[in-house]
């Protein structure tokens, strides 16, 4: 729901929570039920209400258990019948600075401060152990926000008696426990409160009047951060970014401004901002998130922009690069299909509100953040917590490579829609030239076994073929074809007999391995060139039907020949004037033998 996407309006969500919940519950989306125990050391009702909205929005239907006021520790350590029967899927321990039992006193020695520290850790450890042994579910634990006053001023940070120092030690110990334990996760309110500022976060009025550990307007963002952890635990993270190029990855429009005109890199302020964004995305990529491009551009321009010398991201950093003039919603849908992931795993990043609107309206499952101005891109994407990593494994690092291979295969298939693009992607090179003695055995063999793509089905012995080879009255062509998958070797043979102004095509055949690759056009182009060079004005072709060669019955018509005759046996004769002949080959690079 748009209202719940970061950056959201916390006041609006708080005020409208009832109607938002109603709308979410009536949207008919399927949701997974999850049972969430909230063991809170302060009032948590508003936190639970907000958490419910954010979870509903990401496809989780939460059921809550909320501990009695300040019974969090007793519930965790000693259990509680209602909680036992609730059987939580996840337990959230909502504690804060207000739940620290005792701070070091300024007249105490270091040993006394250490004893307080140990006691505090034992208190929390007992709660964690209790939940783990009783409910065997993941635990999410708040760390601590920093104190909102400093008795010793700046010394509070480094003196063992300082509260700032004490809290920092506890946070480090919590982090160590999380690092060493499975199923234990920190909800980092130390970071969250820093983002908002302690003065905004720690509202004494909210504590003393309502026993809320934080100021009410901060609760939505708190719950959003918490929802991100739960979302990740239950496998609802996003997997890929779909990135626009112009004014998203660099400043300016590469197609208009040229690669030298776009802003990326240290030369301009805006260029620096885009470079920092690209560096951020590279880090995101390195963490296992897939990057893809979806840009309205000619592919050539897109690649030029991505190869800008001051750019950070390179074409290889993307598992898929889509640069064309199709509508973005179609391209984003194709990206999901190509990567074989759901549309709900994609985040669409585009500076253009119109593009965002069409993707959001056509593909409601795709996340479409309003990324703001270039200097806000990182903050918006980062705080949106699309890729919260509750787990991290070596597989995450390999994911990009794996998906790139899959995407390459899928791309081969999907590009059949635009056949020319598919042919280009094969990177074909043909060698078409007069026979060479060394090839005569293969040319003869191919000639005598080709049945389908064979216009005259005329057979030759090797000696007969050698005779043709040494007779200047013939134009002989063999064609071999290689592409990025390998070399197909010799696949086509054409022989024309020079007859005054005409070249009479007595043999035209091709291996069916390379059907629909444009190889027949490449052969025709070469034949036309040679015939013209020999002074011919026209090509004469023949089609002699057999039981097997029906597929080439209309070949000469497709080539642009006109039919001149047809006998009772359906043998046809065709003619093509060479004057004004234009080559047909578009997707094969044609070479001659060395």
């Amino acid at each position: 729901m748009k209202e719940l996407e970061y950056p959201f309006d916390p006041g609006y969500i708080l005020k409208k929570k009832r109607s938002i919940k109603r709308a979410l519950l009536s949207d008919g989306r399927p949701r997974t039920e999850k049972r969430i125990a909230v063991l809170a050391g302060s009032t948590a009702n508003e936190i639970v209400d907000m958490l419910e909205l954010f979870l509903l929005d990401i496809g989780i239907a939460p059921v809550f258990y909320l501990s009695e006021y300040n019974r969090w520790w007793q519930d965790a350590v000693f259990g509680e019948p209602e909680l036992d029967s609730f059987a939580p899927d996840v337990a959230f321990i909502h504690t804060s600075l207000r739940n620290i039992t005792a701070f070091p006193r300024i007249d105490e020695d270091k040993a006394a401060a250490d004893a307080l520290f140990d006691a505090e850790m034992e208190k929390f450890s007992a709660a964690w152990d209790g939940i783990k042994s009783r409910y065997k579910c993941p635990i999410i634990q708040n760390n601590f926000e920093l104190p909102f006053f400093r008795i010793m001023g700046n010394r509070d940070a480094y003196d063992y008696r300082g509260r700032v120092n004490f809290v920092t030690r506890l946070n480090a110990a919590f982090a160590k426990h999380a690092e060493e334990s499975d199923g234990f996760y920190i909800n980092d309110i130390n970071y969250l409160s820093a983002c908002k500022g302690l003065d905004k976060w720690s509202d004494p009025a909210c504590w003393h009047m309502y026993k809320y550990a934080m100021s009410i307007p901060e609760i939505p963002e708190f719950s959003y951060n918490l929802a991100a952890i739960i979302k990740s635990l239950f496998g609802k993270n996003k997997k890929a970014l779909v990135l626009d190029l112009d004014n998203t990855l660099w400043g300016g429009v590469v197609g208009d401004d040229g690669v030298d005109g776009i802003e990326i890199g240290p030369e301009t302020h805006m260029g620096q901002v885009y470079a920092e964004f690209q560096r951020y995305l590279k880090l995101v990529r390195d963490s296992g998130v897939m990057l893809t491009v979806c840009s309205k551009n000619d592919e050539e321009n897109a690649m030029a922009g991505l190869n800008h010398p001051s750019g950070i991201l390179r074409p290889d950093d993307f598992v898929m690069i889509t640069a064309n003039w199709e509508n973005k919603d179609a391209n984003v849908a194709a990206t999901a299909a190509g990567l074989n992931i759901g549309e709900d795993a994609l985040v669409f990043v585009d500076d253009n509100p119109a593009e965002r609107a069409i993707v959001a309206s056509q593909l409601p499952d795709v996340a479409v953040p309003n990324i703001g101005a270039p200097e806000e891109y990182i903050r918006v994407l980062d705080r949106s917590r699309f890729f919260e990593m509750t787990a991290f494994s070596g597989d995450d690092l390999k994911r990009n490579e794996m998906y790139r291979q899959n995407a390459a295969r899928a791309a081969q298939q999907s590009k059949f829609a635009d056949y020319g693009e598919y042919l280009d992607s094969l990177e074909m090179t043909a060698v078409i030239d007069d026979f060479l003695p060394v090839y005569l055995p293969r040319i003869t063999q191919l000639t005598n076994k080709s049945n389908q793509f064979n216009l005259t089905t005329r057979r030759f012995t090797e000696d007969e073929m050698r005779a043709v080879y040494s007779d200047p009255g013939y134009i002989r062509l063999y064609g071999s074809l290689k592409d990025k998958f390998g070399d197909n070797g010799i696949v086509s043979v054409v022989i024309g007999k020079i007859d005054g102004d005409s070249v009479d095509i007595i043999l035209w055949l091709m291996s069916c391995r390379v059907l629909k690759r444009e190889m027949e056009y490449a052969m025709l182009d070469s034949l036309a060139n040679r015939a013209k060079a020999a002074g011919a004005k026209e090509l004469i072709g023949h089609y002699y039907p057999t039981r097997k060669n029906g597929m080439v019955k209309e070949l000469y018509r497709d080539f642009g020949f006109e039919q001149v005759s047809c006998d009772e046996e359906q043998n046809t004769c065709w003619r093509l004037a060479l004057d004004g002949y234009t080559p047909r080959t578009e997707h094969i690079k044609i070479e001659r033998n060395e």
Binding site: L14, K15, E46, A205, H208, M209, I216, P217
Partner: protein, 80 residues
């Protein structure tokens, strides 16, 4: 700020918070008149009023308000 305008905006806030488009508040309205107006929704309400008028009530003001009329008086005095 005119008292009339404050009541109009306040009415909208009450309707949003209690999810009831028919709600009309006046100076004498108290928590007893609205079913869902309990101590928890009171917190939401105060926060929403603060958000609407761009003010923060002092603790003493929040606990001292007897009815909607006193809330309106406080809002008007703060806006001056």
């Amino acid at each position: 700020m005119e008292e009339k305008e404050v009541y109009e905006r306040l009415n909208e806030v009450f309707r949003d918070v209690f999810d009831d488009d028919d709600l009309e508040v006046n100076a004498e309205t108290t928590a007893d008149d609205i079913d869902d107006w309990d101590s928890l929704s009171h917190i939401t309400l105060v926060s929403a009023v603060e958000d609407e008028f761009g003010i923060r009530f002092k603790m003493g003001e929040v606990s001292g308000m007897k009815n909607v009329g006193e809330m309106v008086d406080t809002i008007i005095s703060r806006a001056q």
